[in-house]
């Protein structure tokens, strides 16, 4: 009468007993409720904004006002959109200000809220001053503040994802910050190439080159070190997104290395790099969700850890 219920799932009856048996194949942890495109979009836009603020400062300091203005506009636009994405994703959007009720270093989301609350206005003022030409001293101070906070804005989201029980995110905490800042630099540089004529966009090109190279290196280290736990980054929707991003980055690197100054080529490269950065964030987002949904990513590493602690002995009960 009840026999067949226990055999409904393959892992209940088909796997050898040495492997773990889950509870009817159900997930152990809860996958994040965060929605796409809001949250991966936020990761992308926050990175784009943060790195653009650094690019703006670098361009201003090196006497390239046109690129500086473009980067400031990009930063202000991106951070504004990202806040909309964040608030939209709350279960109770009207209470978004509760984020600033406490300051908690144990919560990357709390730190992030305070970052946005300080970085956002700085980026906004810097852009307003640059576009209108008004209040240049205030504009310079805001530009400096945004450039100082921008990198934190681009990097903290790695801790936001990693400080969870989601295996593909948490286990990647050593590499994700570098992937994220690389991806942010790729996006900011790419957008600079789109917005400003090639001969005036040298810093954008440099930033995109550094970012793209860094992102590729950090990504391969991430999936290599995770081993079987890195599978969610290689398979399914996440795998396709990550792969597409890699192709676009490699293509972008190749055209930048060719040194082409053809405006069409450079702008296409810029679009490809911005797209690649977004795809990377969406890929990482989906990989995390997949790793939460399949209990093997939660259970197997934990079993191994426990067995190693017991001196490699197999669980006495088995």
């Amino acid at each position: 009468m009840t026999a067949q219920t226990d055999h409904r799932r393959d892992d209940q009856s088909m796997v050898p007993p040495a492997e773990f048996r889950s509870y009817y194949g159900l997930p152990v942890i809860k996958a994040p409720l965060w929605r796409a495109p809001d949250v991966p979009g936020y990761l992308f836009l926050g990175g784009l904004a943060g790195a653009s603020s650094v690019l703006a400062a670098a361009s201003g300091l090196s006497g390239r006002p046109e690129l500086a203005r473009a980067a400031k506009t990009a930063a202000a636009g991106a951070i504004s959109l990202s806040v909309v994405a964040l608030v939209r994703d709350l279960g109770r959007p009207k209470r978004f200000l509760n984020m600033l009720r406490v300051f908690k270093p144990t919560s990357p989301m709390s730190i992030g809220s305070w970052l946005i609350a300080t970085y956002g206005p700085a980026a906004g003022v810097a852009a307003l001053s640059a576009v209108t030409g008004k209040l240049p001293r205030v504009g310079r101070a805001a530009t400096a503040a945004a450039a100082a906070l921008g990198p934190a804005m681009a990097a903290y989201t790695a801790a936001l994802l990693a400080d969870t029980a989601v295996p593909a995110w948490h286990d990647g905490y050593r590499e994700l910050p570098y992937v994220f800042v690389g991806s942010a630099a790729t996006a900011a540089g790419g957008l600079g190439l789109v917005m400003v004529r090639p001969e005036r966009a040298e810093p954008a090109r440099n930033l995109a080159l550094i970012g793209a190279a860094a992102e590729l290196v950090a990504r391969s280290r991430l999936t290599q070190r995770l081993g079987p736990g890195g599978q969610p980054y290689r398979s399914g929707v996440a795998g396709r997104l990550m792969e597409a991003a890699e192709v676009l980055i490699a293509g972008g690197l190749a055209t930048m290395a060719s040194g082409s100054r053809n405006a069409g080529v450079v702008k296409t490269t810029g679009v490809a790099l911005v797209t690649a950065s977004a795809l990377t964030r969406f890929g990482i987002f989906h990989a995390g969700r997949e790793s939460a949904r399949d209990p093997k990513y939660t259970v197997e590493p934990q079993r191994n850890r426990r067995d190693q602690r017991r001196g490699g002995a197999v669980d006495a009960v088995l």
Binding site: A3, R8, F20, V28, K30, V102, D163, P177, E202, N206
Partner: protein, 276 residues
């Protein structure tokens, strides 16, 4: 009220570490699954007392478990595992799962609003009037206890009947349990009782009995709600060796700081003019 910023272990009572001057004894659950009969009275009593909404009236088709999992609308969940394949000794495992009220609680650590708080009893409670539904506690829990309620957008979970125990009552699930599979009391007493029960079962030749969540040196600093199981934790849908993610947070922040510094330096260098 307290808004913890650090729930790290260290042998101290979590309520004391959260700033309560003279907290009462830490209270908890000991769920002895060896005497659970799968009646689901705990599920019903919990829903009735806490006015937890309906969580779906579907048949899962996998077992007598038509509840499925813990969630915003399910604060006690009875798992059913029919082990007819065991040679010579078929058995039917039942276990009433609940929020673990961890000593090092990931949900509490990551909550950005302070909605999640530690009570004077050492339990972990969500303040519904503060929660803004950010959902961060959901993937932060290594046991998959919390979700967001569709109807109100807020996160919800077991409160260990904060209202009842504040008034000297025992939680609704423990009150309703007909076999005393769910026991409520001071955590120290419960741990002693559980060890004695484990000894009894081992002497009686029950194989596979083990305590789960009773060890203060485990990855969550010990659970305030712990279990006596008869098989591997993962068989019941529990993680075999959960570790609160926040333990690695200092290292995460260091990597974030290095990465951010690299972006700042790389960004500023990108402005340097080439020789051409």
């Amino acid at each position: 009220m307290s808004t913890d910023t650090d729930t790290r272990a260290g042998g101290l009572d979590p309520a004391a570490r959260s700033g309560y001057a003279a907290p009462p004894p830490r209270m908890g659950f000991f769920t002895d699954t060896s005497v659970c009969i799968g009646c689901k009275a705990c599920e019903v009593a919990c829903k009735e007392w806490n006015a937890v909404p309906e969580d779906g009236l579907d048949l899962t088709g996998m077992s007598y478990d038509n509840t499925g999992e813990l969630s915003a609308d399910t604060w006690r969940h009875v798992a059913f595992i029919e082990q007819i394949e065991r040679p010579g000794a078929p058995r039917w495992l039942m276990s009433s799962d609940v929020c673990k009220h961890c000593t090092e609680a990931g949900c509490l650590d990551v909550c950005p609003t302070g909605a999640l708080m530690r009570t004077e009893f050492g339990t972990v409670v969500i303040q519904d009037d503060v929660c803004n539904g950010c959902g961060y506690c959901v993937p932060a829990c290594p046991f998959g206890v919390i979700t967001r309620r569709e109807t109100d957008g807020g996160a919800h979970k077991c409160t260990l009947c904060y209202d009842r125990i504040s008034d000297g009552q025992i939680p609704a699930c423990a009150m309703a349990c007909p076999t005393e599979s769910i026991q409520f009391g001071p955590l120290d007493e419960l741990r002693e009782r559980a060890r004695a029960r484990l000894d009894t079962l081992e002497e009686a030749g029950v194989d596979g009995a083990r305590l789960y969540g009773a060890d203060p040196s485990d990855g969550v600093g010990g659970a305030g709600a712990f279990f006596l199981l008869l098989d591997e934790p993962e068989r019941y849908g529990l993680p075999p060796d959960p570790v609160v993610a926040t333990r690695d947070l200092p290292r995460m922040w260091r990597h974030v700081a290095v990465a951010a510094a690299a972006l700042a330096v790389g960004g500023l260098l990108s402005g340097i003019r080439g020789r051409s």
